[in-house]
Structure formats: structure tokens, C-alpha cells
């Protein structure tokens, strides 16, 4: 079977991706930074760092700390705001042949919907990803993702504000992800991103100070993959909309595991920091796996985990 025979393209609502592998928000900047090292046009999509309506300075340093098979970060969503983004980064992004997905956040429902409206007006945006799950900001962020009412409000408001495909990025920090996934779907999400980082902390035992300026942060990397796989599997049982699986993806096997668990697409995050070619390698590895297993459409992989003795 020739490479051409394998169909890697996937659909997220109205948005079609040439392959299911994107890069996770906050781990790939605004694309341009990696353009010297990575052929961005090979990716399924580029997801940019979280953007708020206005500029954000972010948290005091240290902002990241390395832990066993993972990373804790508390960047605090430093960013140029909508105008700064459109001025500095959009001119490059809009030249890409692959869609740009814009990750937005706010501290009020209005802030989210206003940002959505702005990007809807911009034109040429592939989709919006609502970050309702960042553990590293005092107000907003995670609290939207861990409260069913707030989640419904923020997603509905953005749904009204834009016709762009809406991706809701779920918080892992809930007792059960099912109900949250359903609320996000009912409120108008076209897809779900699972998962964001998990609340965590590290302390320097010599200074007895937190290793992060923000005291606590979000855990990411290979160490959280087994948690993310479970959340994707549970959410996939709860909703019909596609899921973008992420959490510790380092290679094609990891990505395929997410898809078998129920993900339609995947995103590479922390791995970009130590191996910028990861996403490109994952795409090749998935194609190779599909051929070896004589699967000619990637869609046939999603959610095929076999439970019980069938």
C-alpha cells in the first residue's frame, strides 16, 4: 500500500486538517519562532500561545521547573494581547498553508466573547480554542473549567460571538470529566482539547522556597500521559464531538494510544521544548503504523480500544 493510499486528514467541526497532529498552545509560541527548525506546513495545525484581550506581563520567575518525566510551569500567560498579536504575529501566521488555531482566555465571560468576536472579525483564523483550564492565573482560567455553570456560560457566549470552529480546552482537575465534556458540547463546542496541565508544586529543600515564582504551577509531559489517556477515554464515551488528545506525547506510539482511546486529533506540547521535530516525526510514525496495520483511513483508529473479551 503506497503512502498516498493512507488518509491522514481529520475533521474538527468545519475545520479540516491534513493530518491529526498539531502543536499544543504555549509550547510553540506563535509559530515563527520554530519556523527555522520545523517545516510548519507539514503540521496538522499550529496552535498559538494563549491570548487575552489586553497585554499580559505574566508571573515572576522561576517560571518552569523540571521534574521526573515532566515539567511544571507557571508562565502566567504572558502575551501581547489581541492587538499586539495581530500586529506582531498574525502577518506571518496567515502566510502558512496550515490552519492557525488561536487559544484565548479571560477573567470574565465578556472578555472571552469579546476576544472571540475580534478573531472572528480578523478573518482567516482556523479555529478558536477556549482555555478554561489554565491553573496559573489568579482569576479566571481554571475556575471556568471546574464549574459547570461558568463553563456553560463562557462557551455559549463565545458560540454566539463567532462562527469559527470552537474548541474547548478541558481542565483535568475535576472528579469526573464526562459531565464537563457534555456541557461543553451542549453549549456549542465543535471539539474538545484534553488535557491542560495538572496543578502541581515543587519545593527546593535547601532554600525551603517553592521552585516557581507563582508557588504552584501545571504539570505536563510524559508523567501525565496515563491521566490524559483516561480522561480522553471517558470524555469520548460522553460526547459525539471530536477530541484533541494531549498530555506527554513524545512519539507516534503515544499519539496512536490517544487516538485508540478516543481522540480524533492530537497535540504535542512539552516535547517540543526538548525535541522540536517531535510533531513531524509523529506524523511519519502514524502513517507507518497505519500501513503496517493496513488501515487506510486514520478515522478507523479513533476510539477502537477493545474492552472486555470481544
Amino acid at each position: 500500500m503506497g503512502a498516498s493510499a493512507v488518509n491522514l486528514s481529520v475533521q474538527l467541526g468545519k475545520l479540516k486538517l491534513q493530518n491529526p497532529v498539531m502543536v499544543a498552545s504555549g509550547t510553540f509560541g506563535y509559530g515563527a519562532e520554530y519556523s527555522g527548525l520545523v517545516d510548519l506546513n507539514q503540521l496538522g495545525a499550529v496552535v498559538v500561545k494563549g491570548i487575552r484581550l489586553g497585554p499580559v506581563r505574566g508571573n515572576p520567575t522561576p517560571r518552569t521547573v523540571e521534574v521526573s518525566s515532566g515539567l511544571i510551569n507557571a508562565i502566567g500567560l504572558q502575551g501581547p494581547g489581541v492587538d499586539g498579536f495581530i500586529e506582531k504575529y498574525w502577518p506571518f501566521l496567515k502566510t502558512l498553508q496550515v490552519p492557525t488555531i488561536i487559544n484565548i482566555w479571560g477573567t470574565t465571560v465578556e472578555e472571552y466573547s469579546e476576544a472571540a468576536r475580534r478573531f472572528d472579525a480578523l478573518g482567516g483564523v482556523g479555529a478558536l480554542e477556549l482555555n478554561v483550564s489554565c491553573p496559573n492565573i489568579k482569576k479566571g482560567g481554571a475556575q471556568f473549567g471546574t464549574d459547570l455553570q461558568l463553563l456553560a456560560q463562557v462557551v455559549s457566549a463565545c458560540r454566539k460571538a463567532t462562527a469559527l470552529p470552537l474548541i474547548t480546552k478541558m481542565s483535568p482537575n475535576v472528579v469526573s470529566v464526562g459531565p464537563f465534556a457534555r456541557v461543553a458540547e451542549e453549549s456549542g463546542s465543535d471539539a474538545l482539547s484534553i488535557m491542560n496541565s495538572y496543578p502541581a508544586m515543587a519545593i527546593d529543600i535547601e532554600t525551603r522556597r517553592p521552585r516557581l515564582g507563582n508557588v504552584t504551577g501545571g504539570l505536563t509531559g510524559p508523567c501525565i500521559k496515563p491521566i490524559a489517556i483516561k480522561l480522553v477515554w471517558e470524555a469520548a464515551k460522553a460526547v459525539k464531538i471530536p477530541i484533541i488528545g494531549m498530555g506527554g506525547i513524545q512519539n507516534a506510539s503515544d499519539a496512536i494510544e490517544f487516538m485508540i482511546a478516543g481522540a480524533t486529533a492530537v497535540a504535542v506540547g512539552t516535547a517540543n521544548f526538548y525535541e522540536p521535530q517531535t510533531a513531524v516525526q509523529v506524523i511519519a510514525g502514524i502513517a507507518e503504523y497505519l500501513k503496517r496495520h493496513e488501515i487506510d483511513d486514520i478515522a478507523e483508529l479513533t476510539g477502537t480500544v477493545q474492552i472486555g473479551s470481544d
Binding site: 517560571r63 515532566g70 504572558q78
Partner: protein, 261 residues
């Protein structure tokens, strides 16, 4: 900026806890500017995932070298790697030192410990020779004195315990020199943050320009993660800039030493 697999040519103990590693990096070596760094992935680390940043020390043909101190996981694994083994390197990275123009100010280089590594290429490529102030806690922290002399530079040494050169912090001989003559001098420094802060104060006091290579913790090394930021003055206000991209070298007058609330 290039990512390539580099092969270790040699990796030998220099003194005490300092090692010199030479790697064949055909694409990276020719591009290196003084003060830039390479971001190395040390694979034996396994559960420690991140790359480690090291100033490019010397460049020879298609090889580049680093001069590193063993301080933790990555550097101790690195020190056990043998010639022939491979590393993944991204480089050259960052905004380096401004190489003096012919006939420009006399460069005064100030180095603490492995800070020497960031300054060698500058000394080598500067049309003006100048003075290198080398400081450290003990004699073993005084690195590659000979190499700088071989470049025809005047090397002044100070150690905190007096085991080598003057018994003082390196800022002492620097101050003495500027007190003697502050005209047409420019300072370039690399070392521990407290040293850089002192150098900035002195440069300010004697009103000489200074470029400082800042030692911030890094993650991606290429500007996407926003880990390595430091507060930098921007007409009236301030913003967080990235040591891996806008830096590691900054104009000392730009740096906000007391992180504002």
C-alpha cells in the same frame, strides 16, 4: 539556528569540576557569534527531559567546544560521555556580544568561573586587545588564563581566597583600573548574577558602557516557552524579555535588577 546531531570529539577534565567538550557540529560551528550558546540534549538523562544551555567556548573548523562545570544531573551525565557518543544540539542561539569596531573603545572583559567560556570568542575576534579580569572563589575556578594571554590580552586574576592573583572579588581590580583611566573603555561581562549586578553598578558609577551575559534558567532555548525572562526597561516602563532570544547579552543600563512587584 540549526538543530543537528553532534558527535563528541573529546570531553576532558580541565580542572576540579570543569570539563572541556569538543563536538563536531558542521552546521553550527561556522555560524557562532561571540556570546551565543548551544542548547544540548543529553540523552542519558532520561527522566530529566530538558536541554541544557552552554556558551560556545571556542570554534575550530567544523567543531565547537564548551567549557562546563559539573553542578547537577545533566552536567554530571555529560562529564561521563565519551568521544564518539552523540548529543543533539540546537544552535547557535541568542543575541551575543557586540564585537568592538576597529579603533573603538578598549574592551575590558570580566569573567566569573565558567563565564570565561562566553568571552573567549569575543577576545579572539575583537580587533582591539584589552584586559581580561578573571575571578573565582579559588585557584581552580580560574580558567584558560593562558589562552587569553596567547591572544595577546592582559589577564588580571583575583580569587576570594587569594590562592591565585589578588585576594579580592574580581570587581576590585576592575574598579582600580577604571579609577586609573575610565576613558574609551567598554565592559563585557559574564558570570554569576551577583557579579554581573556589581559590574553594572561599577560601569554606571564610572559611566562606561557594559554588556552583560545573563544566566537565566531556560527551557526551550528558542523563545517559545517564556521561561527565561527578566525585567528590562523600555522607555519609562518595563517588560519581561527572553534571555534566550533578546539575550543572553543585554546592555547593563537596560536591566531592572529589583524585579518590580
Amino acid at each position: 539556528m540549526v538543530e543537528q546531531t553532534v558527535q563528541i570529539v573529546s570531553n576532558d577534565l580541565d580542572s576540579d569540576l570543569y570539563y572541556r567538550l569538543v563536538a563536531r557540529g558542521t552546521q553550527i560551528a561556522p555560524l557562532v557569534q561571540p556570546g551565543q550558546f548551544a542548547h544540548l540534549r543529553i540523552l542519558p538523562m532520561k527522566e530529566a527531559l530538558l536541554r541544557r544551555p552552554f556558551s560556545v567556548f571556542q570554534v575550530l573548523g567544523d567543531t565547537f567546544s564548551i567549557l562546563y562545570k559539573v553542578v547537577g544531573k545533566g552536567t554530571s551525565h555529560l562529564s561521563r560521555m565519551r568521544p564518539g557518543e552523540e548529543l543533539s544540539a540546537i544552535g547557535p542561539l541568542g543575541h551575543g556580544f557586540t564585537v568592538p569596531q576597529p579603533g573603538a573603545e578598549t574592551p575590558l572583559l570580566v569573567a566569573g568561573g565558567y563565564g570565561m567560556a562566553a568571552l573567549y570568542l569575543l577576545a579572539q575576534r575583537s580587533p582591539q586587545k584589552g584586559i581580561v579580569f578573571v575571578g573565582g572563589r579559588r585557584q581552580v575556578d580560574i580558567l584558560c588564563e593562558k589562552e587569553f594571554q596567547a591572544l595577546g590580552w592582559d589577564v588580571r586574576v583575583a580569587t576570594e581566597d587569594g590562592s591565585r592573583g589578588e585576594k579580592a572579588l574580581i570587581t576590585q581590580p576592575l574598579t582600580d583600573e577604571l579609577r586609573r583611566d575610565r576613558r574609551a573603555r567598554e565592559v563585557f561581562a559574564c558570570g554569576p548574577t551577583p557579579m554581573l549586578k556589581a559590574v553594572a553598578r561599577i560601569a554606571d558609577q564610572y559611566n562606561v558602557p557594559a554588556e552583560l551575559s545573563m544566566d537565566e534558567h531556560m527551557c526551550c532555548g528558542v523563545g517559545v516557552c517564556l521561561t527565561c525572562v527578566l525585567p528590562v526597561k523600555t522607555n519609562g516602563a518595563w517588560e519581561y524579555q527572553r534571555a534566550c532570544t533578546e539575550g543572553p547579552v543585554f546592555d547593563s543600563r537596560q536591566i531592572l535588577w529589583e524585579p518590580p512587584p
